[in-house]
Symmetry: C2
């Protein structure tokens, strides 16, 4: 970890999308470690869930890891999102954690509010680490997948994109990736503009995006990286409604623990962990 | 078509995997045209199906296209596969069409028999065109996917490979690709040896593999091409049972009608049809 944190002039915090259904201890463990360990102050935002017991449930999970300085921010309406108490908590937090639920609620309740702006600014300038699971993962980036259809082949009108939290515009995240069969909608999202990299994050799996834009994997599943930077042709502009979309020139990497990818250079490599195991 | 047939010294016939559920008229129409048009002699092999009405059902389909010189070869047991009458029919055929069903039956009934050898030799040396739908598509190549699990992420022990008809060893075909969510098992199959290209053929869609190894698409769906020739790392050799497999450096193209791919150079491009439509 230390090598990443000291590897560049960037003071951006880590961005940690998790694909839902957290079971592997190392997912939250590594996030806590990034935030400074057991004494880390972590703000839990259960807005996506809409259930009052979701926040406390995650507090228990963090407590089981020895982390007792968590606070749940019950942001249910837009008017909650300029509350001085909550802003003050986020100002002093080492990490923010978004729970799962419906990412549409995150966009409609938090979008454009002082608390969303504060999280975005502190992640960019002040090293605030931000993790989210399931809907919370979908919300992290500039371009968010609000919804779409299942299946591996991209079709026109298969995906609904909208603005997310905006921590990075380099990646588009899809979650529950294997379990809900979402390659097609991720490809559809990328087919419009090959600038972004697609990250399909499986359940119980996290993509740990470092300040230098390298990505390491934790958990039991895979992260499917779709890199469209070499795309020479996409038919999304001429495809009829619900017709399959041609995309020529994609690169793909299936990452599991022990492998990594760099968003800046678009290179995948094996890290020491997996090399040793072989 | 003519440009392909006259484009090289090869006398190999076309190889035409179709992903199942044929609805678009142009799929069988183009196959008939390749075989010489309405007077083409086409041998229908319904072995995968095991149902006695499958062969006649396809005879009707070909008849509706004006093609009356079809014969059904009821190859149900290995001993049927050195029958002089059937061998003679295949010797004089312009095309062979394998129906769907269970590809395991094709392997176990035809594998290594004189009729399989004759089809393979005549396709390679004598311009016999060979198409197959569903299980019939799976069977065409050297390496056949006998079965496997669903889902987009590759896992170890997810796919069962075996020997197929052997028309080419350059491609591994999976069929009903979108509809049965088979990216993961195709990636698993490729992860063992990045020599082969994976062709995931959707239902009602055909990959028309020309004698020069260029591939054009017909039908309403897509063909997902996975090109592992740039793979730098695969963890299939060290992954534990049912664990996700890391694969770094894949290329992917989603092909629809109007786009094409070359198995020899591994290049995808747009053909005239789609360029005009834009």
């Amino acid at each position: 970890m230390a090598s990443h944190l000291s590897s560049g002039p960037s003071t951006r915090g880590w961005i940690v999308p998790i694909g839902g259904r957290i079971e592997s201890r190392e997912l939250l463990d590594r996030f806590v470690e990034l935030c400074g360990g057991r004494n880390a102050a972590i703000a839990i935002i259960p807005t996506a869930s809409g259930e009052s017991d979701t926040g406390p449930w995650y507090q228990d999970k963090f407590r089981a890891l020895g982390c007792t300085r968590t606070k749940v921010l019950p942001l249910d309406r837009r008017s909650d999102c300029d509350d001085e108490d909550w802003l003050s908590l986020v100002s002093e937090a080492d990490g923010v954690f978004f729970t799962g639920g419906n990412q549409g609620r995150l966009g409609t309740v938090l979008g454009g509010t002082p608390i969303a702006e504060l999280i975005q600014r502190r992640n960019r300038e002040d090293g605030l680490h931000v993790a989210g699971t399931s809907a919370g993962a979908a919300y992290l980036c500039e371009h968010m997948i609000a919804g779409g259809a299942e299946g591996p082949t991209p079709h026109s009108k298969m995906v609904t994109l909208c603005a997310g939290l905006g921590l990075t515009n380099r990646a588009i995240i899809d979650q529950h990736f294997t379990q809900r069969n979402r390659l097609g909608r991720l490809l559809s999202a990328l087919s419009y503009n090959p600038f972004c990299v697609g990250l399909g994050v499986d359940e119980d799996t996290g993509a740990f995006i470092a300040p230098d834009d390298s990505i390491e994997i934790e958990g039991s599943g895979a992260v499917t990286v779709i890199d469209p930077s070499g795309v020479e042709f996409s038919s999304i502009d001429s495809a009829r409604a619900h017709e399959p979309v041609a995309i020529l020139g994609l690169a793909m990497h299936i990452l599991t623990r022990g492998t990594a990818f760099r968003l800046d250079t678009r290179e995948a490599h094996v890290t020491e962990t997996l090399a040793v195991r072989r």
